[in-house]
């Protein structure tokens, strides 16, 4: 038990550093694996759970997804759009809008170190987006740029176990100081069998519930667990965003050059 404790405190300390390099992260991971191995029953430390979630989410080397997105406002008005998402590792993501027609080709590229670019086909120009934007909503959705761009939970949050039920670990995640995240905390329900979050509650700075994300319809595609129906509901503005994944392809060895400004313009 003391080992687990030490791992947990180590994890906390590590997360407070300016950045965890891939190297130190893998050390943490090694210790975690060790810790898990020495455990008697299935009880997992919060950091282990979170790491497992992140690992599950980032298991494929790359992923290409076509999805439809429905935005529903408080009055029930709907807007539909189609997009494709190209993802490689944790840090590289390219989002391309395919419809409606007047925004077809608008692209969004997120790279390491909060680098973000937008491409507007009507102007044939790429523009960098300041990192401040990451806490703003992305293109009319209820996801922030940050929600869309990354899944670095271990790096950005300190977890604690709020509750463990038969099927779920309920984690409470508090953002680390240097993460620049505008949520005051997250509550995450992690499914014990898939190690994927079924539901995440986002709380705003004053501590009020802001958004609820639910992920359902988990399918195994190319050996990876992938939720196909993702809903984000802003309970304050009564606005919803629903994403339905259509084509999901993994591990196509997408080259790094696909995630450049040059390719952002290619459409």
């Amino acid at each position: 038990m003391s080992l687990v404790e030490s791992v947990r405190s180590r994890g906390k300390d590590a997360s407070k550093r300016v950045d965890i390099s891939g190297c130190s992260r893998s050390i943490v991971l090694a210790v975690l694996v060790l810790a898990a191995a020495t455990q008697t029953a299935g009880a997992m430390a919060p950091l282990e759970v979170l790491q497992a979630v992140e690992d599950t989410l980032n298991a494929p080397a790359d992923r290409e997804v076509h999805l439809s997105m429905i935005l529903i406002d408080a009055e029930g008005g709907k807007k539909t759009r189609e997009l494709s998402i190209l993802q490689k590792g944790k840090d590289k993501r390219l989002i391309r809008f395919l419809s409606p027609a007047d925004v077809r080709g608008v692209g969004f590229l997120a790279l390491e170190d909060d680098l973000m670019y937008i491409y507007m086909p009507a102007f044939a120009k790429v523009r960098r987006i300041a990192s401040h934007v990451k806490n703003e909503n992305f293109m009319g959705t209820d996801f922030t740029y940050d929600d869309m761009a990354q899944t670095d939970y271990v790096k950005n949050y300190t977890p604690s176990l709020r509750e463990e039920t038969d099927n779920h670990y309920v984690l409470e995640l508090v953002p680390n100081e240097e993460s620049e995240i505008d949520y005051s905390r997250l509550v995450m329900w992690v499914d014990k069998t898939t190690m994927l979050p079924d539901k995440v509650e986002f709380y705003d700075r004053p501590g009020l519930l802001l958004k609820i994300m639910t992920q359902t319809d988990v399918r195994r595609i190319d050996g990876y667990l992938t939720p196909h129906h993702i809903k984000m509901e802003d309970v304050q503005d009564k606005h919803k965003t629903i994403m339905d994944l259509e084509d999901v392809v993994h591990d196509q060895s997408i080259p790094d050059k696909q995630f450049t400004q040059r390719y952002l313009k290619r459409f």
Binding site: D102, M120, M139
Partner: protein
């Protein structure tokens, strides 16, 4: 009447019990009475103007703004910013508030190197702490027209938190909550509260305070007057009790039918106490005359009722008529006032002839104490005699005086001002008024005005039209800070691509729009699936006349400057003639906008014709030859392109890049080259290894290079035109120089765009059929907002005034004509009150008192009350005259008896109304003062103008003047004969 008297006496016990029970019931209702100070509720809800206003409020998250201002030495300090931030958050958490705009919650679009930052001006987590950061933030914020004078005053001392209050919620309650939040967070900043919700809250407060203070005061005053007249407790308690009970019933009944007190109906208690007591007084004094230890008390009561009942009812009915005239008013609250004030009068009248006798019957009889009163009345009697002499000697002069009043009013009435704004309800030194004045001075006011645009809002033509319209709005005096989605798009375009203009393609608009989609601010700017947009501006005046001038000039512009039906087309696809026509239309539009921009920024020396000439003379952006210097700039841009991550062809060697540039220079220096010729140069000079694995790269590169050249050529053209125009200006204010340049530059971009509006009739029919996919752009524009409501109120004030006066005087005329069985009688008896109303208008014009929702009531009310004096006077005069005395004697007797009573009564009522002056609601103060004045004038009119007219016209309804004339012949010179009657 006798029957009624018997009935009252017979049923006195059940009557007393019934009145007591009803009073308890209505007193209970009274405790639930609330004050409704929402101007919008005062208006008829089926009026389309009101409906549109509500609809807009519903769609755009509310149409009223609650404003909290913080004033300190410099708002850009961490503590103040933190306070603003927590206030913003807490306001935002109130469910009744749809949106809060403040320094820490406002959309900011900022240019950064190679990119853009769209986010909050100051985020909660990013309040700067160091002096340098704070200074930079202050400088940046004050440099933007979006913020300066809009959420921060130009001197950086005051900042606003503007909360949009949802429609259909209790605005007073929201304002209370907001005030509690502010007060719970202490700070060094001075706080101001402004906007309709806070005005309503303060109004509710002072209405309540006035009621609590003034009603007891009037009651006390009435008690004093009663004691002065009757010298005994029952003389005080009975009439006072009757009016208090009738007041409780009236207000209780109001609540019972579900109405709240408004600023107008709040006057009912004071009003009823002041005028309703007269009925009780008349009954008691009649009773007193016959009262004594001897005889049957019940018989005395019966006789009193029989004697005075009818006159009480008649005067009561005329007063009611004065109030009921408000049924013709447009304003709901005025109609309510009319109904319940007349109901109150009815109740006071009914209770005076029922309740008072019923109670009297249980009280022991008292000896009359005549002596003291007798002595006191002597001097009044003498004054009356002097008046009688005056009337008799100068009857013509008095009538001439009356005519002068008519003439004076003809001059005065057109001078009357009107004021319907709520700000005017408060005293100049009140907090809310000071807040409004601060807001006007530093922030261009807090009254929003909205213009709705219906159409396909994402169409560039529609947005351009809106943008142009806003530029016009900026030139209207007293109107500031127009904002719409068009500004937002232009702002994004400026920060991203350096041009403050609407892009000329639908995709261009949509791409930028997409970037801010879903942002909170969009909910206030567009609705109905982007088929309706709102332009909002602020009005920097609360003066009704100036407010209406703003509304009218907008309406006028909307009506006259409506664009023809245009097709938004690419000019390259058009026949030369059509193209020329479209270009000259575009040039004229641009020239007009330049003139508007110049006007807004205070730039002088730019007139339409010269500007038009300048913009037409400019050549095409793609044809002219670049100078050596310009060619170098383009070459530099191409080198930069190859060096950037976005380069489509990866070339690592500097020498290859410079080789490519050398090859391209001759092409782009002369004109805009095609992609094919650029591609040829590239293929010739770039080694195939650079694009071997990516064959498309070559095409992308050619297209990008052409884009760079095209962009530069257009920029040169735009900048040249801009410089030229600024050179033409004779004066450019220094402070505005930068914004003016940005605006003009944005205007010039329209001249180099591919698309322009083309009138559908100028396109050849054959071509038009091919263009069928493109429909002409149709928009409709509507204006709404509080100023329109004020305009409506203003018009209604005039209409209400006219309608209620006509109605009141018509009914009064009929009543009087019937009463005196004479058409002339009706006319003559109406003259004193008509003169009174005219005098009132003269007084208002002289003192600069405006007509408002309350002062508009004075005419009819004064008519209804003042006519009583005429009735009393004429009745007595007629009686005396018919009994055979000369008209002179009759006049004297009438003046000494009824005349005296009239003066006492009028004084009592006037003093009662004067109490309103002590209140805090300005229109109520004016109402109190003016009604008091009308009481005096109508009483004076009744005892001077009325007899003068009767004497002059020898009106037959009074009696046979000839008969008296014959008798008088014996008695000439008797004008000065004293016929003082001794009682």
């Amino acid at each position: 009447m006798t029957k009624l008297a018997y009935w009252i006496v017979r049923n006195r016990l059940p009557l007393l019990i019934g009145v007591t029970l009803l009073t308890i019931f209505f007193a209970y209702q009274l405790t639930k009475l609330r004050i409704d100070s929402d101007v919008l509720n005062y208006l008829p809800q089926d009026d389309p103007v009101v409906q549109l206003f509500r609809e807009v409020g519903d769609k755009y998250g509310g149409s009223s703004l609650a404003v909290v201002a913080l004033e300190t030495e410099d708002v850009f300090k961490p503590r103040t910013l933190a306070r603003i931030d927590s206030l913003t958050t807490r306001f935002h958490d109130l469910p009744e508030i749809s949106q809060v705009t403040s320094l820490t919650d406002v959309l900011d679009i900022k240019k950064i190197p190679d990119g853009i930052e769209v986010g909050k001006l100051i985020s909660s987590s990013g309040i700067p702490q160091t002096p340098e950061d704070l200074r930079a933030l202050r400088e940046y914020t004050l440099s933007k027209e979006m913020y300066r004078g809009n959420i921060v005053s130009a001197d950086g001392r005051t900042t606003l938190l503007v909360a949009r209050v949802r429609d259909g919620v209790d605005k007073t309650e929201v304002a209370t909550k907001m005030r509690e939040i502010v007060e719970s967070m202490s700070g060094e900043e001075t706080i101001y509260y402004g906007g309709i919700p806070f005005q309503m809250l303060f109004l509710t407060d002072i209405i309540t305070r006035d009621l609590v203070r003034l009603v007891p005061l009037v009651a006390l005053l009435l008690a004093a007057v009663l004691f002065f007249s009757f010298h005994r407790l029952q003389g005080v308690l009975l009439p006072l009790g009757a009016v208090l009970v009738s007041t409780i019933w009236t207000l209780g009944l109001m609540r019972w039918v579900g109405l709240d007190l408004t600023i107008v109906t709040a006057a009912i208690p004071v009003l009823l106490i002041a005028i309703g007591s007269a009925y009780g007084i008349h009954l008691l004094s009649t009773y007193k005359e016959t009262e004594g230890p001897d005889g049957d008390k019940l018989d005395h009561i019966r006789r009193s009722i029989a004697a005075i009942g009818l006159p009480i009812i008649l005067t009561g009915v005329t007063t009611m008529v004065g109030f009921l005239a408000f049924l013709f008013s447009y304003l709901t609250m005025t109609r309510e006032f009319g109904i319940f004030a007349s109901l109150g009068v009815l109740l006071a009248m009914a209770l005076s002839i029922t309740l008072i006798p019923a109670i009297l019957s249980y009280l022991p009889s008292q000896r009359p104490r005549m002596k003291a009163e007798e002595q006191r009345s002597n001097w009044v009697t003498r004054v009356m005699d002097v008046i009688a002499d005056l009337v008799l000697a100068h009857e013509k002069l008095i009538v001439v005086g009356g005519l002068l009043v008519v003439a004076g009013s003809l001059v005065a009435i057109p001078q009357l001002q009107r004021e319907v704004n709520m700000k005017d309800y408060f005293k100049p030194d009140s907090k809310i008024r000071q807040a409004e004045e601060m807001m006007e001075a530093s922030f261009g006011g807090a009254i929003p005005i909205q213009i709705l645009v219906n159409g396909d809002i994402k169409d560039p033509l529609v947005l351009k039209e809106m943008f142009r319209f806003e530029k016009y709005l900026r030139t209207i005096p007293n109107l500031t800070h127009p904002q719409s989605v068009a500004d937002l798009i232009a702002e994004l375009n400026e920060q991203m691509f350096g041009r403050r203009a609407i892009p000329d393609t639908r995709e261009g608009v949509a791409n930028l729009w997409f970037f801010v989609e879903g942002n909170e601010v969009m909910n206030q700017l567009v609705a109905d699936n982007d088929t309706q947009a709102m332009i909002q501006a602020k009005i920097g005046t609360v003066n009704t006349a100036r407010l209406i001038a703003v509304v009218d000039s907008i309406d006028h512009h909307l009506a006259t400057a409506a664009p023809p039906q245009l097709l938004w087309l690419n000019l390259d696809t058009l026949p030369t003639l059509v193209r020329r026509e479209a270009e000259s239309r575009r040039a004229a539009d641009v020239a007009r906008v330049v003139v508007l921009d110049a006007e807004h920024h205070g730039v002088e020396g730019l007139n339409f014709d010269e500007v038009l000439l300048a913009v037409t003379a400019a050549g095409s952006a793609s044809d002219h030859r670049l100078t050596t210097e310009q060619t170098e700039i383009v070459s530099g841009a191409i080198v930069d392109y190859f060096g950037s991550d976005a380069a489509d062809l990866p070339i690592d060697s500097d020498s290859i890049v410079s080789d490519v540039v050398t090859g391209l220079e001759p092409l782009f220096a002369d004109s805009l080259p095609g992609e094919a010729s650029i591609g040829a140069v590239l293929r010739e000079r770039v080694p195939p290894s650079a694009y071997a694995d990516d064959p498309e790269a070559m095409e992308y590169a050619a297209s990008a290079l052409r884009g760079i050249v095209r962009e530069y050529r257009r920029t040169v053209c735009v900048d040249g035109l801009t410089d030229n125009l600024i050179g033409m200006a004779t004066h450019v204010p220094e402070a505005a120089a930068r914004s003016f340049r940005t605006d003009i530059q944005g205007d010039m971009w329209a001249l180099v765009e591919d698309h322009a509006g083309v009138a559908s009739e100028s396109i050849p029919p054959a071509m038009l059929s091919q263009l069928s996919a493109t429909d002409p752009v149709a928009t409709t524009t509507l204006q709404t907002g509080m100023p329109i409501i004020f305009k409506r109120l203003d018009r209604s004030v005039v209409q209400s005034q006219a309608a209620s006066l006509v109605a009141a005087f018509l009914v009064l005329f009929i009543l009087l004509a019937v009463r005196f069985r004479s058409f002339t009688g009706g006319l003559i008896s109406l003259t004193p009150v008509v003169a009174t109303v005219l005098c009132n208008f003269i007084l208002m014009a002289v003192l600069g008192i405006p007509l408002d929702v309350v002062t508009v009531l004075i005419g009819s009310v004064a008519g209804g009350i003042g006519i009583d004096y005429t009735i009393h006077f004429l009745a007595r005069f007629q009686k005396e005259f018919k009994e055979g005395t000369s008209e002179r004697d009759a006049l004297r007797v009438t003046l000494e008896t009824t005349g005296k009573a009239i003066i006492i009564n009028a004084t009592a009522v006037a003093v009662g109304f004067l109490v309103l002056i002590l209140g805090d609601i300005v229109p109520m103060q004016r109402f109190g003062f003016l009604i008091a004045a009308t009481m005096v004038t109508s009483a004076l009119g009744a005892i001077t103008l009325l007899p003068a007219l009767v004497l002059l016209t020898k009106a037959r309804f009074i009696g046979e003047f000839d008969r008296v004339a014959k008798r008088l012949n014996h008695n000439l010179g008797g004008l000065r004969i004293s016929t003082r009657r001794r009682p």
